[in-house]
Amino acid sequence: MQTKNTKTFYLIPYFAWIILFVIAPIALIAYYSLFDLSGNFTLDNYKNFFTSIYLKLTLSSFWYAFLITLFSLLVAYPTAYLLTKTKHKQLWLLLIIIPSWINLLLKTYAFIGIFGLYGPINAFLNVFGFGETQILFTDFSFIFVSVYIFIPFMILPIFNALDKLNPSLIDASRDLGASSWTTFSKVIFPLTTNGVKAGIQAVFIPSLSLFMITRLIAGNKVITLGTAIEQQFLVTQNWGMGSTIAVFLIIFMVIVMIITGQRDKGANSNGKN
């Protein structure tokens, strides 16, 4: 039997972590957001956030995050579905996951080479007489690379949801007269929305604050909340404004989590509890 003391002992690492790396930073950000450049207490930072510059920036952040999530989903769902049908599904899944263990920065740099003016893509286009095309520093390259980076995080939860789906439910749907498409739209997809939601969470939220890829691949042409925070802290040295944007970013994240976090009734329970 565990005594109360040993329980408290086990909780120490958890609380230490929460206090040092979650509560303290958020408190500090909230605190700094209340001061202007010269260190006076003010609410101007919050007022400024609602001016057109920052609202536009927020909107564009959401737009890009939305596109990245959408394309990830469009690629990930069929991929995950196909994976569950293969014979060695765990192996194929592993092959998709392995690249996500490699450092993000390395992979991003690789794309600078691939998309560059003298890279293989341009060389390939040259063969068809397209001439040198600017691929790097475009919206396309930004979304492409982001989708590439995030896709394992979308595939994994969807794969798990599909894999757990009771196959006799699909038989039942066919048995009751449903075509393959109706079976997908009325049974398979509704029962895997939890996986889809988890995937959206894992992609959309980090996409809101991307800044490294915007720098390297989009050449600062795409400005997201992440890049704005970096600029405020490192370039303009306006910690107050940077913190304010961070506060809003946290709020947005919480909202997204609440929206996508609702669990559907009975999904994946296979009808047995």
Binding site: N166, S168, L169, D171, A172, S173, R174, D175, L176, G177, A178, S179, T182, K186, V187, P190, L191, D264, K265, G266, A267, N268, S269, N270, G271, K272, N273
Partner: protein
Amino acid sequence: MSETPIIRFENVTKHYDAETTVLTDINFELERGKFYTLLGPSGCGKTTILRLIAGFMQPSSGNIYFNGKLINNVPANERQVNTVFQDYALFPHLNVFENVAFGLRIKKLGKKEIEEKVLEALKFVNLSGYENREIAEMSGGQRQRVAIARAIVNDPEIILLDEPLSALDLKLRSEMQYELRELQQRLGKTFIFVTHDQEEALAMSDEIFVLNAGNIEQSGTPMDIYDEPINRFVADFIGESNIVSGTMVADFRVRIGEKEFECVDQGLNPNENVDIVIRPEDLEITSVEKGKMKVKVDTQLFRGVHYELSTYDDEGNEWLVHSTKKAEVGAFIGLDFDPEAIHVMRLNETEEEFDKRLESYGEDAYAN
């Protein structure tokens, strides 16, 4: 047969890969409106037959006919067959009403018609008032009924039931046996029921197919199969049996060990080796002097309705006895039985040969 059989299997074979054959050259015909049971141990191929009829898989060779029409390549969603699955396979994201309405919505029936039919189907399975329940809120027996309602609401010609009672507790299971049988008679539809439970099969079926290792061992009414099992496997699988080896000395004379007994079987070769079945309830306890056989009582169990005695004769054969009389463990008792109680089975006899032999006995031997 005047009417075309609703289902006909013609030399159907199914194998998943070169080595594993699930069904070997299966032939049978099913009549409309009867309750059929496919009975056999797990892995005998009974569920495979069901899935072939439902359209979830195609035969490797051979043909399946539905109302005389070849249906080998008709997909599951275009067959007039509905299945009640072993785990019910109810859609957890839909409530009871929507689960039952699923097939009707696909047929694009009107809203009012759907509601009428769903409520009627739920009434049929005694679930009126449960329309808005979630599946997770239903008990095992209720889910079972929802699954049945979901199948019958589509008015299919055949209803397939894949061990639908196996997940229920004993009491509920015997209740559902009555209900299913009654439901089948009210609907007048063809039911094909898969089970490994011989009691279930005996209680519910018009006709039973006993399967073993991808072959139909025997088919017939529950009484045929119980009273006249074709071989050791069927005798052993259906009910409790005493099966011993013996020799047919002459017509109506069979030898078990050193003793000869009178029986009702004839037409076998003299001194042919045979298997002999005597059901435990056909053995009667009597005194050693009066009995046809002398055995020693090894164990005795009280089974409620009767005592179950495990006894051994001098040659070491075990004889199971069901009796309302008690005996003493370790004591010698006599066993008495009628000549009709002895059922002689030829070794490796096909069902065709078996049926022919039974017919040849004529009315005299089997009048009683």
